[in-house]
């Protein structure tokens, strides 16, 4: 099992040094992704999921951001120890990334063909003509109609869904794509377009055996896409496991609350009120050493404020970080 891991993160800590103080964006994060699987990283805004993605790519804006400690292992190599040059050869080749806003993540003054071709030129020293031919192939692969014509378009001439397809094409422009990090890839899209993009991603993943790190806040998207799930809250991983375990037997009160808050949850179809989590996401600046969910948790006890809990295992790789997981039934 171990050697099947494509990427493994150990003890990652990322902070942001702002004028108001040091924000611990990610704390003691362990995470791994197996070859060919989809891991969903779920959480609400500010939980550190996007920062984790940037950290894997080593693209955390610095300053103010800083990767404090930890290891990010790709085939046994620690990415955090590579030189910038070595890292550049991995970005876009072994690991690639797509972003939330298809409207702004493509360069407005270059044709989309040129932008895709750039990846081939960068990593495979192709000449421009060859690379452009490759770009047409890639557009065809992500099912953009009339790709020979489309390569000559500028981003603003495409719809949001089409642009996200171009982003995917760029991310896959490598003979050997290993991991695609998708940071809220469908949040900005309409639901019918979202379905198309998710389908495309699933299909491509199957055909080229690539791993997918899917970052999202939408539990519906998680249910549809993920093999495994990691739930983050305020910079901490609070629960992780198989997608069925997480949805059918959530063990952390936050995961339970998140599922209960979903209006599409069958439970509430005709019942009216939602079982909401009270309160607001805490300010990361004011978080202590305890469990970050303590301030909103209706089961919290004094110990929760003092100490972040140790891991509890429930079998099948289902882990949870809660002092009372398994002891109390959270509803």
């Amino acid at each position: 099992m171990e050697n099947n891991r494509f990427l493994e993160i150990k003890g990652l800590n990322v902070s942001f040094y702002t004028q108001k103080g040091v924000v611990p964006a990610v704390r003691e994060l362990d995470l791994w992704i197996n070859k060919g699987e989809t891991l969903a990283l779920v959480g609400e805004s500010g939980c550190g999921k996007s920062v984790t993605a940037s950290a894997i790519m080593r693209l955390v804006p610095a300053p103010p951001g800083k990767i404090e400690s930890g290891e990010i292992l790709l085939d046994g190599k620690d990415l955090l120890r590579l030189t910038e040059k070595e890292m550049q050869s991995i970005r876009g080749d072994r690991i690639s990334m797509i972003f939330q806003e298809p409207m702004t993540s493509l360069n407005p003054v270059f044709r989309i063909g040129e932008q895709i071709a750039e990846v081939f030129i960068t990593h495979y020293s192709m000449d421009k003509k060859e690379a452009l031919a490759k770009a047409v192939e890639m557009l065809d692969m992500v099912k953009i109609p009339a790709p020979e014509k489309r390569v000559r378009d500028y981003p603003h001439q495409l719809s949001g869904g089409m642009r996200q397809r171009v982003m995917i094409a760029m991310a896959l422009s490598s003979p050997n794509p290993g991991l695609m990090i998708a940071d809220e890839p469908t949040t900005a899209l309409d639901v019918t377009i979202q379905a198309q993009i998710l389908d495309l991603m699933r299909e491509l993943q199957k055909s080229i055996q690539m791993s997918l790190l899917l970052i999202t806040h939408d539990m519906g998207v998680v249910a549809e896409m993920a093999n495994r799930v990691a739930v983050m809250y305020a910079g901490r991983k609070v629960e992780a496991g198989d997608v069925y375990d997480i949805f059918e037997n959530p063990m952390h009160p936050y995961t339970v609350g998140l599922l209960n808050s979903m209006p599409s949850n069958e439970k509430y179809r005709h019942a009216g009120r939602l079982e909401a989590i009270e309160g607001n996401v805490p300010n990361l600046l004011e978080i202590g050493s305890g469990c970050p969910f303590e301030s909103r948790c209706r089961y919290a006890k004094p110990v929760c404020r003092e100490k972040f809990p140790d891991v509890k295992e429930a079998g099948n790789g289902h882990s949870v970080w809660c002092h009372f997981a398994g002891d109390i039934k959270f509803i």
């Binding site: 702002t18 004028q19 009120r273 009270e278 607001n280």
Partner: protein, 298 residues
């Protein structure tokens, strides 16, 4: 029905109570060292201007007949004397009065009228907007230095006219900035929200939108004081502003032109005074922009 829970207020509820955006911005500005440095320079010159009669060692008009010649660094004339034997330091100190007054006055003209036109133009649109923009376009078709010179040439070369000319020539910039931010602000949801609550046009325009449009105008005005000071000096240098023997910085430089080859200090020191005070306004203006313009924030 379920009771609605009341969230516990943090113990910071009162302590943070009065932090308006203006106050928070001021706190940020205070942390900006170069902006504060600029502010200190301005305060220093304001001090000189207000207490010129106490601070200046000599009467700026007093011609020292005994010296006759231009002297350099000789006690008690720290910065030397000019061709009439007048103390340069004292003239510079008195000159700060003129420059600051011109700077503030000229900017007030363009600030008040320019913003008002921009506000009404942007808010109401329609025929007023079309006419105002047409006129502004024509004014902007002149490089403003030229426009200033023309206006002052027409009104006659006096200090007051120089102020008015600078104020008028710079007015279109304020109108444009104000109009642009009003147009942007009008799109904000809170304007629609307040309209839906029955808030009338006047209250919307002056009480809601205007305060939110002030940021770029304040930046422009701060930088504008600096450029107004330079421009008034330039007008005086060309003989279109202050007239001799007024201790005006630009005029001092102009009258020293013929001595560049043997009395560099007469030219240099008034110029340094201009650079310093303008630098002060530019530093402060840049600092304010950094604080107020969220696009440049990290």
């Amino acid at each position: 029905m379920n009771p609605i829970k009341i969230f516990k207020a943090g113990n910071d509820a009162e302590s943070r109570a009065a932090e308006s955006i203006w106050y928070e911005n001021w706190l940020l500005l205070k942390k900006n060292r170069s902006a504060m440095f600029g502010l200190y320079i301005i305060i220093f010159f304001l001090f000189l201007a207000v207490f010129a009669s106490i601070v200046a060692p000599f009467d700026p008009y007093l011609q020292n007949i005994d010296l006759r010649k231009m002297t350099y660094f000789s006690w008690p004339y720290i910065l030397g004397t000019d061709d009439f034997g007048r103390d340069i330091l004292s003239r510079i100190i008195y000159g700060s009065r003129i420059s600051l007054v011109i700077g503030f006055f000229a900017v007030s003209i363009s600030l008040v009228f320019g913003s008002l036109i921009g506000l009404i133009s942007g808010f109401y649109g329609g025929w007023f907007d079309r006419i105002a923009m047409r006129v502004i376009d024509i004014m902007l078709a002149f490089p403003y230095i030229l426009l200033t010179i023309v206006i002052v040439a027409l009104l006659g070369p006096t200090l007051l006219n120089a102020m008015i000319a600078i104020g008028i020539a710079r007015l279109p910039q304020y109108t444009r900035i104000m109009r642009a931010s009003v147009l942007a602000e009008k799109e904000a949801e809170y304007v629609e929200a307040e309209r839906s609550l029955g808030v009338g046009n006047m209250e919307l325009m002056f009480m809601s939108i205007l305060p939110n449009c002030l940021a770029p105008i304040i930046v422009q005005a701060t930088l504008g004081v600096g450029s107004a000071i330079i421009e008034s000096a330039a007008l005086s240098f060309l003989g279109l502003g202050a007239q001799p023997p007024t201790p005006e910085w630009g005029l001092m430089i102009a009258s020293a032109r013929e001595f560049v080859s043997n009395a560099w200090w007469i030219v240099t020191f008034p110029g340094i005074a201009i650079v310093l005070v303008v630098l002060g306004f530019n530093l402060l203006g840049d600092g304010i922009r950094d604080v107020l313009d969220p696009r440049l924030k990290d």
